[in-house]
């Protein structure tokens, strides 16, 4: 639509970048939480336009990347069963488990299907009553409403052959974990616009206050990102730390309350193990007891899972903003999108994949 085009206006982006250059006086480290924003920043070349004082570090907002290895191995075990049609977002297919990935299960004859929406998986369950249909329900607060809707629909339809393998994660606990770490470098946050479209930003003022960091809700077009960075830098230079909204056409402070009500009905907060980061208390969502029958972990006994992570992969440090993909000795040599050692190299939101696709060499000199 026309409005989206307006937020890609290169001339206007340049103007905002000039303003950033004009006001910046010292070095600052800003983290964009969302991997979609990491890709948008590198794809648009915005990182190259910014003054050298501003370092953007890339956050853990890549659901595929933070899904625990144990859960991926469980997914692989379930997907390999002959009675199962395993549905997933396409991003997950090449994410390495301990020994293989979903793509290799599919190649070996497993019924693995890529779907655009979990509601498509419900349709597949309806059309295949003799099969168990499992959807790999990964994602942050943005994706959780769609997954919740699939459960509500399956329950209303009385489907007995549909379940979710749930790996939902939430942004605010991850921000606490990053900011509270002794080696934290992040001084300001771009909050993920579409997470906030659902959740609003009422959860963020206590975080801004506790760690004294500005947090700016930011969208995904180049102009949105430039604006979010400008507002963060203005606050950093002024020594303030409030929560601001640079994505007002989509996000309100309270968020979408109907969506939040759906989430509360279907999910409850649970401890979640983030791949490469570790367990963060109450950082994820699991199914409420009312919907336990739709939990694939209850429905399928996959036995003991012994995980094995590549010793070369530094994804955990990258996801916490401590290292960049180009700091990894395996980057673009032993680890490529065709042969990944870790999830950030395959996901369309992974920082390693963004650097592999878009990174210009000048930053490495």
């Amino acid at each position: 639509m026309e409005l989206s085009q307006a937020f890609r206006d290169g001339e206007l982006v340049q103007r905002v970048v000039k303003e950033i250059r004009r006001i910046v006086t010292r070095d600052w480290v800003i983290m964009e939480i969302c991997g979609g924003q990491t890709h948008a920043i590198l794809h648009s070349g915005l990182d190259q336009l910014l003054p050298p004082q501003i370092e953007l570090v890339h956050g853990p907002g890549c659901p595929v990347c933070v899904t625990s290895l144990e859960l991926i191995d469980k997914a692989l075990a379930i997907a390999a069963r002959p009675d199962v049609i395993f549905c997933s977002f396409g991003d997950m297919l090449r994410v390495p488990g301990s020994n293989q990935d979903l793509f290799s299960i599919k190649a070996a004859g497993g019924q693995v299907r890529v779907v655009y929406s979990p509601l498509d998986a419900v349709k597949i369950a309806q059309q295949n009553p003799d099969k168990q249909v499992v959807f790999f329900a990964i994602g942050f607060e943005t994706t959780a409403p769609a997954n919740a809707a699939s459960i509500l629909q399956a329950k209303a339809m009385g489907l007995k052959n549909f379940s979710l393998l749930v790996s939902h994660v939430c942004v605010p606990p991850a921000m606490h974990a990053i900011l509270g770490a002794p080696n934290n470098r992040v001084q300001g946050f771009l909050a993920a616009g579409h997470v906030c479209a659902v959740m609003g930003y009422w959860e963020y003022p206590p975080i801004a206050e506790k760690y004294r960091v500005p947090i700016v809700v930011t969208g995904f077009e180049p102009l949105d990102l430039a604006q979010g960075i400008l507002m963060t830098i203005r606050q950093l230079e002024a020594g303030t730390h409030s929560v601001e909204n640079a994505y007002q056409r989509i996000v309100s402070k309270e968020g979408n309350q109907a969506a939040q009500a759906i989430l509360r009905r279907v999910f409850k907060p649970v401890d979640r193990n983030w791949r490469g980061v570790g367990t963060i208390p109450l950082s994820g969502w699991g199914l409420q007891p009312e919907f336990a029958e739709f939990d694939a972990e209850n429905r399928f006994d996959v036995g003991h899972i012994q995980t094995h992570e590549s010793p070369l992969c530094i994804a955990g440090e990258i996801l916490r903003g401590l290292k960049k993909p180009i700091d990894c000795p395996a980057f673009a040599t032993l680890c490529t999108p065709a042969k990944p050692l870790g999830a950030p190299m395959v996901s369309s939101e992974g920082a390693c994949s963004a650097y592999f696709r878009y990174h210009r060499t000048q930053e490495t000199t």
Partner: protein
Amino acid sequence: MCLAVPGRIIEIYDQNTLRMARIDFGGVIREACLEALPDATVGDYTIVHAGFALNLLSEEEAQETLDALREIGEIEAELGLEDEEISSRDV
């Protein structure tokens, strides 16, 4: 994966207990769940992620943001300070 695409609602209906809509994404028509937008009507713009409409898009707010951003640097440009400022920082 948290990318969401803006589109215009062209039809609203119920399907298997869910409020659904047909959305026009610049000529490509797809279905999305409208459960979280009880007040949405045909003609509204929304943003859709994984087949779920997350929120309505305010054209008014979009215009206000663009207008505000267009004003950035106007004063410097008028005073002829803008380019000098940049070039001194570039080196």
